[in-house]
Symmetry: C2
Subunit: 151 residues, 2 copies
DNA sequence: GATGGGGCTTACAATCATGGGAAGGTCAAG
DNA sequence: CTTGACCTTCCCATGATTGTAAGCCCCATC
C-alpha cells in the first residue's frame, strides 16, 4: 500500500505520516525500489491508533508514550490509566481557563447595552481592569495575571 | 520610557511589543536619536488593553478589531458586544470539544482496572474505536471523525 | 577618560502540528 | 509513448511566543 492509500485508510494525511516518520513517532516505512513508502495493514492499524489519540487531544509527545505502552506486551494497565488521567487533568485545566474567560466576557457583555451609543463596560474593563466603568480610571499598579497560550 | 519599562508596566514582554509593532497591531513607537523606542503613558495604557484582551483569549486579529473600536469615539457598543459574544461562542465551542475528549477518556479510564495486568480498554478503544474490548477486533471501515487542531 | 554591566537594536531560529506548493521521478492505463 | 495521478524531497507559512547572537548605547564608578 502506498502512502496515499494508507492515509485514506487511516485518516492521517500523507503529509502527517511523513512528518511522524521524520520526527521518530513511527519507524521509517519500507520502500520500493523507486523509493515509494510501503505500508502494511499493521502500519495502518498504528496510524489509526495515532489518529484516534490525536482526536482525544493527546500531543504527539503523549501519543509517543501511548504507543510505547501499546507496543509493550508486558505493560501495566495502571500506566495507561495514569497517562490517560493525567491528560484528562490537562484538559480540565484548559477547560477551566477557557470557561473563566467565557464567563468574564459574558458578564461584561450582559452589562453592555449593545446599542448605538459608544459607552461599553467591555472596553472599560479592558482599559482598566477591576475599575468601575463610571469613574475616569487611571490605573497603574503592576498586576500578575495568569497568562497562558490562548489555547 | 524605554521598551523594558513599558513592558514591565504593561505586562507585555518587550519581545511581544516589538512583534505587535512589526505586525501593525500597534503604531511604530517614537525613537530616540540612538534608535531606542520611547513609550508614553498612553502607549502603556494601550499595551495593557492588549494584554488584558489576550488574557481573555482574544487572538491578535480579534484584538485588532477591539482596538479599532476602542479608538473609535463614534463606535456603537452593539459592535463591541457582538465581537465579545462571538468570541464567547468560540470559547464555548472549544470548551465543548475539550469536554467531550475529557469525558470520553474518563469513561475509558474508569473501565480500566489500573493494575499490573496489560489489558486496558483505553488502548483497545484507540486500536479499534467503538468495538468491545473483549472481542479480537479487526476493524477496517473508513470513518470521518471531527478533527480539530487539538486546542 | 576608560571600563563594565545592563539595556537596547536587529535578525534569525525554534517551538507545535499542519497545510501548501514547487520541481522532479514513477507508475499504470490508454 | 503520452498522460495523469501518484510519489519523492525541500522549502515556506501559519500564530504567538521565546531564545539567541552580534553589536550599539547609556550610565555609573573608578
Amino acid at each position: 500500500m502506498n502512502i496515499g492509500a494508507a492515509a485514506k485508510a487511516s485518516g492521517v494525511s500523507a503529509k502527517m505520516i511523513r512528518y511522524y516518520e521524520e520526527t521518530g513517532l513511527i519507524p521509517p516505512a519500507a520502500r520500493t525500489d523507486a523509493g515509494y513508502r510501503v505500508y502494511s495493514e499493521q502500519d495502518v492499524h498504528m496510524l489509526r491508533f495515532i489518529r484516534r489519540a490525536r482526536d482525544l487531544g493527546f500531543s504527539v509527545e503523549g501519543i509517543n508514550e501511548l504507543l510505547g505502552l501499546w507496543r509493550d506486551r508486558s505493560r501495566q494497565s495502571a500506566d495507561v490509566k495514569r497517562l490517560a488521567l493525567a491528560h484528562v487533568a490537562d484538559l480540565r485545566r484548559k477547560i477551566a481557563e477557557l470557561e473563566e474567560m467565557a464567563a468574564t466576557l459574558e458578564t461584561l457583555a450582559s452589562a453592555c447595552h449593545g446599542n448605538a451609543r459608544p459607552d461599553c463596560p467591555i472596553l472599560s474593563e479592558l482599559e482598566a481592569p477591576g475599575e468601575d466603568a463610571k469613574r475616569p480610571a487611571h490605573a497603574s499598579s503592576a498586576r500578575g495575571l495568569s497568562r497562558f497560550g490562548a489555547a
